[in-house]
């Protein structure tokens, strides 16, 4: 008997004939990916299935490994690592750069101008919205709703326009440098950003009406892939994964970095409104609500935005003292940590990235045993992995 954790019902693993004799059945190994529409990249999931029921899941990663950490050791200086950080989580490049820049600045012991701090937070929060929009849109696609996907991309497009007018790039920005930014905000940015905030608030409601509270969507995601809080902590899950399980933990509030302590926002946690705490729907709705909170932070940051020169603190030559630093930030996917060892030269001796998506993905087998193949897709989507970051 296999306990289907998702619905609390039991399914017999061995069908019987009419005379009551057990039929010999075999489990089937099914390869999901690396080319599969809903593995969100080149992830390969080896599924051991008994009919439609999943007995085991073995994730195989590494198809997108690009030696980020080794590359970082072989640049001519610290700034040159930033484009490689961009390419880790290519859906949230700003957040990747942000963490790296903060880590090196801590190693150097420099303070950046106030204006830089605020612009960084505006950009990081816009990036959070853009990243969550992709997560939510593709999640709709995973459970079979096509339209929310395009609605999300339509709104994300506006954020990318804002990034484009700031630094010229739409996906990989190389915007946050050690000690400053590549460009100051262009004229008209503030107005456009405010316009976006006004435009986007009703769109969140639209998404809720179309998808979040749709009866079929709730049926597909509530009580599916339940991740209890203790399991989430044991596996090192972070971000919406951890908060979806009801753990109130957000580095922006618990360990405020940059100037996050100056803003008023609420940390969203899963409450099990339509099912169990920590199910796929909770993880989904945490992301929706985080977008609202990000808008709040952006509005406050824009209102307080000081004047200043964004290039004044950029060091001419970066040669940190011998030592090491670990710095962690809250990216859209969770806790991103950079561990940097300096041997006193102009290049890092070692850079290690603690990637949130990698840790989040590790829990997949734990929460999908006993689910069905269709649930597998819903669970993998709710983890919101970006393979560029998992494999680095």
């Amino acid at each position: 008997m296999i306990e289907t954790a998702a619905r609390g019902t039991t399914v017999t693993a061995s069908p019987t004939t009419s005379s009551g004799r057990a039929l010999r059945t075999e489990e089937m190994v099914l390869n999901m990916g690396p080319q599969h529409p809903s593995t969100h990249g080149v992830l390969r999931l080896e599924l051991v299935v008994d009919g439609e029921i999943i007995v085991d899941v073995i994730p195989h990663i590494g198809y997108l490994h690009r030696c980020f950490e080794k590359h970082a050791e072989h640049m001519t200086n610290y700034q040159q690592v930033i484009p490689y950080c961009d390419r880790m989580d290519y859906v949230a490049s700003m957040s990747m750069d942000f963490g790296y820049a903060l880590a090196v600045e801590k190693l150097l012991g420099i303070r950046v101008p106030e204006r830089v701090e605020y612009i960084r937070i505006i950009m990081a929060e816009f990036q959070r919205i853009a990243s969550h929009l992709i997560a939510l849109g593709t999640y709709g696609l995973d459970v079979g709703a096509f339209t929310p996907f395009l609605f999300c991309f339509r709104d994300r497009e506006r954020i990318l326009d804002l990034f484009e007018m700031t630094c010229g790039a739409r996906l990989l920005y190389n915007y946050m440098w050690v000690g400053g930014l590549s460009h100051d905000l262009p004229p008209g940015f503030v107005e456009k950003a405010q316009d976006f905030c006004q435009y986007f608030k009703p769109k969140i409601k639209e998404l809720n009406d179309l998808l979040s509270y749709n009866e079929i969507f709730i049926k597909r995601t509530a009580n599916v892939g339940v991740l209890p809080a203790d399991v989430a902590i044991n596996f090192g899950c972070s971000g919406p994964m951890l908060r979806g399980s009801g753990v109130n933990w957000d580095l922006r509030r618990n360990e405020p970095y940059a100037v996050y302590d100056r803003f008023d926002f609420e940390v969203q946690v899963g409450r099990g409104e339509v099912g169990t705490v920590g199910d796929c729907w909770d993880r989904y709705i945490v992301r929706v609500r985080e977008m609202e909170q990000s808008l709040r932070i952006i509005e406050q940051a824009i209102a307080q935005l000081p004047e200043g020169d964004v290039h004044s603190a950029i060091p001419k030559r970066i040669r940190p003292p011998v030592g090491e630093v670990y710095f962690r930030t809250e990216t859209p996917r969770g806790e991103l940590g950079y561990y940097i060892v300096s041997d006193g030269s102009t290049t890092p001796y070692r850079v290690k990235a603690r990637s949130p998506a990698f840790c989040n993905l590790s829990v997949i087998a734990e929460i999908s045993r006993g689910a069905m193949i269709a649930d597998m897709v819903a669970i993998a989507g709710s983890i919101d992995i970006v393979l560029g970051e998992v494999d680095r």
Binding site: R7, M28, L30, H36, P37, S38, E52, G140, L141, D142, V143, G144, A145, F146, T147, L150, F151, R154, L210, L211, N214, I216, F217, K219, R220, M372, I373, A374, D375, V377
Partner: protein, 340 residues
């Protein structure tokens, strides 16, 4: 119509051939149009434009261009596939859905074959589609295809029960299985349509039939046999070129067939909604096709709005929701007819 043709042409075989081909003259242009319409409808629901270039006006020739592309494609049969079954499967599927058109009354003057058990024939012959789907899934020698085939077999067989029961409610009122006869009984104003008879039982039967027919033709929210995000493409994963196009054609033909049954049995078929206004054999074709296309549009609307159910939920809907309510309709209408 067959009498007319028999007068003109002496050979019986030729007459039957011509009659057999006539629905094809509708099905193929309709499928081309419906695929284009689906793309435009989905595009406008999603804040896009959809095809805009091919042919000039709103990309009307896009699907024709697509068909030409599919015709030119290499006909790939996977090495490990069962070649004979693999080749045969798309034809069986299309045959199953096309055969249903033989008994669909397009107008008071035209029906492919005026058999007096038309409805029974349609239900029976459209079940053949399942065999084709199973063949396709099995012959592809691909686990995803097999999953899709198994799912569709389970789904279509399950949903035939509420479908047949819902139709039975109407059959009891009409006292006939002949679709032409049923259409004639609904003539006059729109309140003569069966959907407004024996309220609310027949209306409920109509809703049950419509939901179940969505599952029979694998449309969202019941598109799990070809669930793109789960099974890649289900039973037609390995198909390409014209074989794939045949599956596609069969799907759209099926969509029209179930819509045609819905409009014949519940919405008066080829009857004008306004008594004698715009009625007659030719206007009948117009009304019939309009009603059919209306249902097609609703199917598209649902597809681009709703997510997909899971396999067990799909079975739940069939066995624990639709089937019991369909029984309620049958008993309700039966008692009403018996006592009233």
């Amino acid at each position: 119509m067959d009498q007319l043709l028999q007068k003109l042409i002496s050979s019986d075989v030729l007459v039957y051939l011509i009659i057999a081909v006539i629905p094809l003259l509708w099905v193929i242009p309709y499928a081309l149009f419906a695929v284009w319409l689906e793309r435009k409808v989905s595009a406008h629901m999603q804040d896009r434009l959809g095809p805009m270039r091919v042919g000039g006006w709103h990309g009307w020739a896009q699907t024709i261009a697509d068909i030409i592309k599919l015709l030119q494609k290499e006909d790939i049969v996977p090495t490990a596939a069962d070649k004979r079954l693999f080749t045969l499967a798309p034809f069986v599927v299309f045959m199953g859905s096309y055969a249903a058109f033989a008994a669909i009354p397009f107008s008071s003057a035209y029906i492919g074959s005026g058999v007096n058990i038309g409805l029974f024939y349609i239900i029976a012959v459209s079940s053949l589609v399942v065999i084709g789907l199973l063949m396709a899934g099995w012959a592809s020698n691909n686990k995803w295809s097999l999953f899709g085939a198994m799912r569709s077999a389970a789904q279509i067989v399950s949903y035939e029960i509420p479908t047949a029961l819902a139709l039975l409610a109407v059959v009891m009122i009409a006292g006939s299985l002949d679709l032409q006869e049923m259409n004639r009984q609904q003539s006059g104003w729109f309140w003569n349509w069966y959907i407004f008879h024996k309220f609310p039982f027949v209306f409920l039967a109509f809703v049950i039939y419509f939901v179940a027919s969505l599952a029979e033709v694998n449309r969202t929210p019941f598109d799990i046999p070809e669930a793109e995000s789960e099974l890649v493409a289900g039973y037609h994963t390995e198909y390409s070129g014209m074989k794939f196009a045949l599956f596609f054609l069969a799907e759209y033909a099926n969509m029209f067939a179930v819509s045609a049954i819905a409009s014949s049995l519940f919405l008066g078929g080829w009857n004008s909604p306004f008594g004698d206004f715009l009625s007659g054999p030719l206007w009948g074709v117009f009304w019939f096709l309009s009603k059919g296309m209306f249902f097609i549009f609703i199917q598209m609307w649902l597809r681009w709005t709703l997510p997909r159910l899971r396999v067990d939920q799909l079975m739940y809907v069939s066995w624990k929701v639709l089937t019991p309510w369909a029984f309620v309709c049958v008993v309700g209408v039966g008692l009403w007819v018996l006592l009233g």
